[in-house]
């Protein structure tokens, strides 16, 4: 039985908004990109004095990359138009499509305010959390293009297989390693020592960074920025004694040296972590230790 949808609410666009760019990486299509990169330049709204009453409703066309492994041989694009409200986020629009137009639309989400890391997707070509991207900040004269993050196997619609991502995370030994006897009270750590690794403790493992990295896209073997961030969090923790082990892992040929400082990760991180800086610090620590 075919799902009972309202057929007029959608139209199928073949081919999609811009040509696919599979593995080519941006290098092959640099020129193409510049012309095709219209879309949503974040529009700065003057800070309204809060409140939700005065912001009007508007229609939004969502262009979603759909793929149902049980029916489709390959992903395709579909458009849905929904009526949304001023403070709504892309996640609200996805919910609305699922609730009112097509229940088969599949995506992950949980907290809905940017702290759980479930809903990293590509919105208008950039990795974002759907729940942290306000519709009013997008250019709504064009469809809002939402597709799965890149470089991880697509499972269904916007859902990707996170296993490779977490496997890389596990490989960097992301846990405190200590030596000697446990103290009875807390370990002492000075405020500057605590501050040293504060930035990288913010990571929510959303994979927005790793899946924005052109090097990760190539063969998926690169550990990726998220794993390095989580190694950094411990390497620079004064209480930790396992830095050498972790640095050794990141000295691997798939480790930090593969980073080409493209900054996509830093731009994508919803937690504002200075990822490229963290990677640079790890590189420097490695050099200091090896030379």
């Amino acid at each position: 039985m075919a799902p009972d949808r309202e057929p007029e609410a959608r139209s199928t666009t073949e081919g999609g908004p811009s040509e696919t760019n599979a593995e080519a990486g941006p290098a092959k299509s640099a020129a193409r990109a510049r012309e095709g990169s219209g879309g949503a330049a974040p529009r700065k709204e003057p800070a309204s004095s809060g409140g939700t009453g005065e912001i009007p409703s508007f229609d939004v066309t969502m262009r979603l990359r759909r793929y149902n492994p049980e029916q489709d041989s390959e992903p395709h694009w579909e458009d849905y138009t929904v009526r949304m409200h001023g403070t709504d986020r892309v996640l609200d629009a996805l919910h609305k499509v699922k609730a009112e137009i097509d229940g088969t639309l599949t995506f992950r989400r949980s907290c809905a305010h940017g702290v759980c890391g479930s809903d990293a997707v590509r919105i208008n070509g950039r990795n974002r959390l759907a729940c942290k991207t306000l519709l009013k900040d997008l250019n709504l004269s064009k469809p809002v293009v939402v597709e799965p993050i890149k470089g991880l196997p697509i499972e269904k619609d916007l859902v990707v297989d996170m296993e490779p991502f977490f496997a890389a995370y596990r490989e960097v030994m992301p846990f405190l390693i200590t030596t000697g006897a446990e103290p009875t009270r807390e370990r002492i750590q000075s405020q500057p020592d605590r501050e040293r690794f504060d930035d990288t403790t913010k990571c929510i493992l959303c994979a927005a960074c790793t899946s924005s990295c052109p090097v990760f896209w190539t063969d998926g073997q690169y550990f990726g920025p998220a794993a390095i961030v989580n190694a950094h969090r411990f390497i620079f923790d004064s209480r930790d004694a396992g830095s050498d082990l972790r640095l050794e892992v990141l000295n691997d040929k798939e480790g930090v040296w593969r980073c080409r400082t493209t900054f996509n990760c830093s731009e994508a991180c919803p937690r504002g972590i200075q990822i490229t800086k963290a990677i640079a610090e790890v590189k420097q620590a490695l050099i200091a230790r090896k030379l």
Binding site: G255, K283, I287, K290
Partner: protein, 159 residues
Amino acid sequence: MSTPTETPGPGSYAPALETPHSPYRRSKATRSNWELYGWLFMRMSGVLLLVLVFGHLWVNMVSGDGINQVDWGFVAGKWSSPFWQTWDVLMLWLAQLHGTNGVRTIINDYAERDATRFWLKMALYAATAVVLVLGSLVVFTFDPCADPSSTLEACRTRS
């Protein structure tokens, strides 16, 4: 949209689907400092190359008559001096090794299969060897007086 295949009833629940999770594999871990040295070399050679290449471009293409001044005699003039010989050989080696390491990175990035990777890199290294040997030989075995009409200082004393 077509109908999904059979919806299983109670009892005979969903037949096991092929697991949708792709097995995660990382090619064997490497424990050497090779990538670290390569990375450092790119930076150090880069800084030196900046001087060498810009000097080279200035002398050959900007100062004097620009590109039009370059002919055999111009080259002979330069290479009669050990300073330019050293300059050019150093530049040749650094640029070639820098470029080779850079292209090696790119092959590693984009070649999909191990075999492709291997053969591309072999070709790269072979080309590098040819360029380095040939280039060095040319600079060092070059005889600036090969042209009998040469007016170079060095040739006059010799003849």
